[in-house]
Amino acid sequence: MSNLGFLFAGFTVAWGLVFGYVWFLARRSQSLEARLDGLERRQRDNASAD
């Protein structure tokens, strides 16, 4: 691999790590939203049952 090949590989790995982590955070945020929706639904059900 040429020097430019190594350079390209280095920057790809670094940016890949950052974007991969942002994607991971977005997934986690979606799962929190889903949990929150579930809890809100449950709270409404509990309130209507009382």
Binding site: L17, V18, Y21, R28, L36, L39, Q43, N46
Partner: protein, 243 residues
């Protein structure tokens, strides 16, 4: 109690600034900074690898400070900060650990050598991975927070070892000569220094954005846990009620 995220902390604007600064840093790295005489184009890895390493130091310093404050005050906000900074710090440590060997191969002829700088940096990465595993599988929340704080404080001893390893021992890894301008062959020339400063600012800003984002998620997660506990708590038995 509202568990919906607050959008008023300026995170969006900060993320845009971080993205623009990172794009400017990339432009300066490839279009403005001169090609180094000895290493050639691969020396441009400096603008990626060294800012990642410096940001790792900052990240771990935040973990250390927040852990210390947690043990002192036992306030969950310090534990939230430590947990978030450790995760984001792991991203930058991984960046440093992976870009180093990619830079080393064409310059040293090998991806990895067990010299003091590389080994101590690898140990820090292992400490962070251990810290995250303890968070994920540790058990009781309060106990995990305490154990993690202790681990982070003990692990902090590795930072000066990483930094001074190139002076204390004979290593293949060069000593950083970024700030020592003036004498021939040492320090960076002005265009390289400007590129490095912008790259470092971009890395720090990216770290700040990711930390704020991760911290927001951590707080939402804990509030949801509390809400869930409240909702699943069995309703109190009313004395005197008949079945």
């Amino acid at each position: 109690m509202s568990t919906r995220p607050s959008r008023s902390d300026g995170l969006g604007s900060l993320a845009i600034v971080a993205f623009v600064l990172s794009a400017v840093s990339l432009g300066l790295t490839f279009l403005y900074a001169p090609t180094e005489r000895v290493e050639g184009d691969i020396q441009r890895m400096l603008y990626l690898h060294v800012p990642a390493a410096f940001t790792m130091y900052v990240g771990y310093a935040v973990v250390f400070f927040a852990s210390f404050m947690y043990l002192l005050r036992r306030e969950s906000r310090w534990d939230e900060l430590a947990a978030s900074a450790a995760e984001v710090g792991t991203v930058f440590t991984s960046m440093m650990i992976t870009t180093g060997p990619i830079w080393a191969k064409p310059v040293w002829g090998t991806y990895w050598t067990w010299d003091a700088r590389l080994t101590s940096a690898f140990v820090l990465w292992l400490i962070l991975i251990g810290y995250l595993m303890l968070r994920a599988y540790g058990g009781h929340a309060e106990q995990v927070a305490r154990y993690c704080a202790v681990l982070a404080i003990i692990g902090f001893a590795d930072l000066p070892i990483i930094h001074y390893s190139v002076q204390w021992w004979r290593t293949l890894h060069p000593d950083a000569k970024i700030m020592t301008e003036g004498s021939p062959g040492q320090g960076l020339e002005s265009s390289m220094m400007i590129t490095f400063a912008v790259a470092f600012a971009a890395a720090l800003l990216t770290f700040t954005v990711l930390l704020k984002l991760r911290l927001r998620l951590e707080r939402q997660n804990r509030r949801l846990d509390a809400l869930q506990r409240e909702l699943t708590r069995p309703s109190p038995v009313v004395l005197g009620s008949t079945n």
